[in-house]
């Protein structure tokens, strides 16, 4: 108790609070601009945190990322471009709601579920960190293989209108993921002698290209005026939110739980949490046919899941020094610089600093309510700006953001090429979300499969020999078989159509 009071004293300090508010505004901006992700916000904060004591330094990162993950919903709902990868899972859905004139509701629900999910993640982080990390630590490549399979399976769920096109899109993503140095043999593949391609196709330029550039192209080539949102500014964004949250309170809980668990798994962060939650939501919904047409249910799940995931990713990072995602990979670097070497010992040596991080999580997520509300209000500017003014600006931010990742023009090239590919794919009715997921999980899938095979000397049975792997494997195979059963049950389900 003494420690908690001490930690609160560290956080509720004028300087720390000022850092939290400023980094919150920074995070909202970063999240709302497509292509500038929460990871990039963290990376840009690192040089600034070098000049701060440990508590404000970590508070800045915690706040900025929590804000950015929510703010990613704003361009997703208003422009059909996810601001961060964590919003990609339900961008189509949110945009469809906006087109139905429910922009206030989708943003209000997004904000509320983000706050609730974030707080849930913070509670879990604070109370069960060591226990969860122990579970995640037992995962070897066999378990990761099944996890990657589960992730890819969710791609199939997200695009069930035309499973064949979804599958082709997934394979395009997996193909792009094979570019670069083979993770097991160390041999370059599909690099055409280019040194830049040896590192593979970086996910962030690819995502910016496939979502943002394709959208810019679509807007440029549109012959008929795009359907514009009716209301120029938002009224009360919280109207009707209470009812939605009450109706889907189980989804809220489920999204938060899945988000925290997926976040706590090393390597899987908020974006994968959102995909899985959205797929699970659709799977268990009473009205799965409404998904993709502007239905709020999946947004409650995924919106709470990605913010809950943030808390989850800190669990293995703090307890064992193993990053939960790319954000916490950077955080671990900061922890070392600040002399808070992650590991169980830090809980004994500097508990007040660790608890200060926990307190920050609560503060940041509560602060998300007013700051996020202000962000929604000012986001109406995005609607007022005509698209022919907005699109060049977006393209400019995309180019700057892509360039900033590696400081090379090559990334900009990747973004442009994949933007064209995605545009052509979408014009022909191929969904791009599966391609993105294939690109993200392709490396993990191949890597975990190959290393597992090396460990097992080529014996496939090994994928079911370890208890956790066996459970995950059986669940995955069961999910693969379930569509056949489901297909037989619902024959006349209407296609969702292009949105």
């Amino acid at each position: 108790m003494d420690v908690i009071l001490q930690a609160m004293g560290l956080v509720f300090d004028p300087y720390v609070m000022m850092v939290i508010v400023l980094s919150g505004a920074f995070g909202l901006f970063m999240g709302a601009i497509p292509g500038l992700s929460a990871t990039m916000a963290t990376a840009l904060l690192v040089p600034v945190t070098f000049f701060m004591p440990p508590v404000p330094a970590l508070a800045a990162i915690v706040t900025a990322t929590a804000m950015a993950i929510f703010a990613g919903d704003l361009p997703g709902a208003l422009l059909r471009i996810p601001g961060t990868p964590a919003s990609a899972a339900y961008t189509e859905e949110a945009y469809a709601m906006t087109r139905k004139g429910k922009a206030e509701l989708v943003l209000g629900v997004g904000l509320s579920s983000a706050v609730i999910g974030g707080l849930f993640g913070a509670v879990v982080l604070s109370f069960t960190a060591p226990v969860l990390a122990e579970v995640a630590l037992k995962f070897s490549s066999f378990e990761y293989f099944w996890l990657a399979c589960l992730g890819l399976t969710s791609a199939a769920f997200i695009s069930t209108d035309e499973p064949v096109k979804g599958l082709i899109s997934l394979l395009v993503g997996l193909l792009i993921a094979t570019v670069g140095i083979d993770p097991t043999a160390g041999h370059p593949r599909f690099t055409f002698g280019s040194v830049e391609l040896m590192g593979g196709v970086n996910f962030i330029p690819a995502m910016i290209g496939m979502f943002a550039v394709a959208e810019v192209l679509r807007s440029v080539t549109a012959t008929s005026p795009l359907a514009r949102v009716e209301n120029g500014h938002f009224g009360n964004v919280f109207r009707g939110v209470g009812g939605v949250l009450k109706q889907y309170k189980l989804n809220l809980l489920r999204g938060s739980v899945i988000g925290t668990l997926v976040g706590a798994l090393p390597g899987a962060g908020s974006d994968i949490a959102a995909w899985i939650s959205y797929a699970v939501s659709k799977k268990f919904s009473r009205t799965p046919e409404k998904f993709g047409t502007g239905h709020v249910e999946g947004i409650v799940d995924a919106g709470s899941s990605n913010n809950a995931g943030l808390g989850g990713t800190w669990v293995p990072a703090l307890v064992f020094g193993i990053p939960g995602d790319s954000i916490t990979a950077i955080v671990i670097g900061v922890l070392y610089v600040k002399g808070m070497n992650p590991g169980p010992t830090v809980f004994l040596e500097q508990p007040e600093l660790i608890y200060a991080v926990f307190v920050t999580f609560f503060v940041a997520n509560l602060l998300l309510l007013p700051l996020g509300y202000a962000a929604i209000k000012s986001s109406t500017q995005l609607l007022r700006v005509p698209r022919d003014v907005l699109m060049p600006i977006i393209l400019m931010f995309c180019i700057v953001g892509t360039f900033a990742i590696n400081n090379t023009v090559f990334g900009v090239g990747v973004m442009m090429v994949l933007g064209l590919v995605a545009y052509v794919m979408e014009e022909n009715g191929f969904p791009i979300a599966p391609a993105i997921l294939g690109l993200v999980l392709g490396g993990l899938l191949e890597d975990s499969f190959m290393t597992s095979m090396i460990k097992a000397d080529g014996n496939l049975v090994a994928f079911f020999e370890r208890p956790i792997a066996a459970v995950l494997g059986v669940v995955t195979v069961a999910i693969w078989l379930s569509p056949i059963v489901l297909r037989m049950r619902r024959k006349g389900a209407s296609p969702a159509g292009d949105v």
Binding site: I181, P183, P323, I330, Y336, N341, N406
Partner: protein, 326 residues
């Protein structure tokens, strides 16, 4: 009249001084910001070393020093960018141990000879670790078991295929007269995932540096058996060197060098080296390196260059014998 001519003279004098002074001032390195290229991602160990050196050199040299991450291609992209920069002293970089290995693997033509070397700033010797529930208490036990059991009984990891710790493992086996192929190498995306996989029961031992396993060693999840350096580590004084543990003469380490493209003028080198040495000896650098558990080793320009040359020969020999060279 007189005043005017004095003024005129003064103006002329200033102009003349400026005319003669200008080329000299231009030669005064550094007159504009310096860029340091780090071939690895932001947030990693090399990035952190590059950034702390940048901030210290900024103070020493009195000019802004910016860090730029050029990642990709297993380090090839960034190393190539340093070598290809204009050798004017305004683009420098941090070269890592991979520069002594990549060309043997056929990934690039770049070698140590493509750089101006200012000094070595770090060395982390390889290690030998097993999970805390492993039956092997010493490196000698493990070695005896590897020799006694049939091939493929054990699996090892620590980095990607052909990476530094794979080399460390292969070199150790060769020094003991064991075929490295007897223990299949399980490639990983780095030390941390490999050590985690070992704790999860995926592999039997890991040959990364002990510093990289620090958090899990201190948590009692990992048992360090040896370090593959010349002497014991300050961080783990109870862990024997490989020589003490098994009698093997094999040593290996991951190192970081402060370099620039080949052909940087002598007068610039003469300024960078002392500034770098001062930065290396600063309390800030020591505190930072101790905090991260990185090994401190300093070799100035020529010595560092010789060290790279030897490391290059060693890795070439072992990579060929272990079948890792192209």
């Amino acid at each position: 009249m007189k005043r005017r001519s004095v003024l005129k003279f003064a103006t002329m004098a200033v102009a003349a001084f400026a005319a003669f002074g200008a080329p000299k001032a231009q030669a005064e390195w550094p007159e504009r910001p310096i860029t340091i290229i780090v071939p690895w991602g932001a947030g990693g160990g090399t990035d952190a070393v590059g950034r702390i050196l940048a901030s210290l050199l900024e103070k020493e040299l009195g000019t802004p020093v910016n860090v730029v991450n050029r990642t990709g291609g297993s380090g090839v992209v960034g190393h190539a960018a340093i070598a290809a920069a204009k050798p004017d002293g305004y683009t420098l970089g941090v070269a890592t141990v991979e520069i002594a290995m990549m060309h043997w693997a056929g990934l690039t033509d770049l070698t140590y000879a493509d750089y101006t070397v200012f000094g070595q700033v770090n060395l982390d010797p390889g290690g030998l670790m097993v999970s805390a529930d492993s039956p092997y208490e010493t490196a000698a036990d493990l070695l005896a078991a590897i020799k006694a059991e049939p091939a493929s009984t054990f699996k090892a990891s620590g980095t990607g295929q052909g990476g530094i710790w794979h080399l460390g493992y292969a070199g150790w086996m060769l020094s003991e007269g064991v075929d490295p192929a007897n223990v299949p190498w399980v490639p990983s995306q780095g030390s941390a995932p490999a050590i985690k996989d070992m704790v999860a029961g995926g592999v039997d031992f890991v040959t990364s540096s002990l510093a990289e396993g620090r958090a899990l060693i201190e948590a009692g999840k990992v048992r360090p058996l040896a370090n593959m350096g010349e002497e014991r580590l300050g961080l783990f004084p109870d862990v024997p060197t490989l020589k003490e543990a098994t009698g093997s003469d094999w040593t290996i380490g991951a190192w970081r060098m402060f370099v620039g493209p080949k052909g940087i003028p002598e007068d610039v080198v003469a300024k960078v080296v002392p500034a770098l040495e001062k930065a290396y000896n600063s309390p800030e650098y020591k505190e930072f390196m101790d905090g991260r558990g990185f090994g401190m080793t300093w070799r100035p320009a020529a010595e560092a260059y010789e060290f790279m040359q030897k490391a290059d020969e060693d890795s070439g020999r072992v990579m060929k014998e272990a079948g890792l060279a192209k």
